[in-house]
Subunit: 235 residues, 2 copies
Amino acid sequence: MQRYFSKEKKDNKFILQDSDYHHIKTVMRMKENDKVIVVYESNPYLCKINYKDNLVNIEIIKKQEKQEEFINEVTLIIPLLKEQKFDFILQKATELGVSRIIPVKLERTVVKIDQKEEKKLARWKSIVKEASEQSNRNTIPQIEKLTRIEDLPTSDLNIVCSTTEKENKINKIFKNIKKYDKINVVIGPEGGLTIKEEEYLKNIGYIPVTLGSRIMRVETVPIYILSIINYENME
Amino acid sequence: MQRYFSKEKKDNKFILQDSDYHHIKTVMRMKENDKVIVVYESNPYLCKINYKDNLVNIEIIKKQEKQEEFINEVTLIIPLLKEQKFDFILQKATELGVSRIIPVKLERTVVKIDQKEEKKLARWKSIVKEASEQSNRNTIPQIEKLTRIEDLPTSDLNIVCSTTEKENKINKIFKNIKKYDKINVVIGPEGGLTIKEEEYLKNIGYIPVTLGSRIMRVETVPIYILSIINYENME
């Protein structure tokens, strides 16, 4: 069933964004009494469409039981990449349960955004919102502004995917670690992190890990890591 | 370094495909003495370019040490999907070490290929070849013709991603299983396998597994599974 996120409830109705109304009316061509799921304050509600003066109304039928959500709070810290790759990461990471994405400024990042940042951020937010709807999530991942490495947060477990580390394989880390609630994962740009950046992260508590000698494209790495985190923390 | 696959060695030179020569000359604009890696019979060789009468020659400098390859032989059995999704799976599965891909005819497959099969197969082969070059593999995944479910092979370990199975979670399967060399993984189409198809696979030895209650797009599932297989079998 089609899913939408709402931030406002009024009487027994949910208020959606204009783009959602357009989606219901023009893209999905929904009819009177068609059902949708609306997520409000992280809870899904079964609702029905009704039209009043040609405007869409979303009437609540009942609150729904929540599906299993993601156990861990994963923050993905990634460099800016070309639009197509970055969008791909946003979409797949949402599907695989990321909680928060922090784009980070790194020395070897090739892509710049500068003045267009506000516009980009709005675009990114709309991508993760849509991906959340499509993968039946009850939460939308948070996307932070472009952040300097010195301003990165730390968490219960912090790892950085390193291109120089040879010993600390990711499977050893995950299999030896105690349970954690929150994890931060830093992924470097195409040329890798600089030695200085890796040293800095190490100093603030990030464990450098290697994913093995296999070569993965930078946009594949977050999917790989999120798959493993999901898998290792499956009930 | 740019990598190419060759099937022919002559004197101290490798013969490549016409499209590779074009890539070297026109796309990469390589110059005399530029280095490339050529993989021949699954071994990588360091080579240098030289031009003779405006034709590209690939001279062998020396055989290179082999990088770590994939430990398991993974056969991915997937339904036909829309071109973009299917290509995406071919590319990412190659990157994540798939050995063989078998497109399977399933009842709920929407996409048809019929007469165009030979052309499709050639296209798929060129996608995995290119993805193998880009991810520094020494082997190119094999792609089979469209296969009927009754003709599917079995292996040391056979799993089918089920939408009806609730108990057999994938982590339990992998964590309780003895080492295996070869694994076959069946992934269903967007509407899932039919009960009859799942029963059939079960009867020939495929274990139905669930990936949890999370909803993943069909093209994300193979990446998720291959990531886990890689991870679980990391040395």
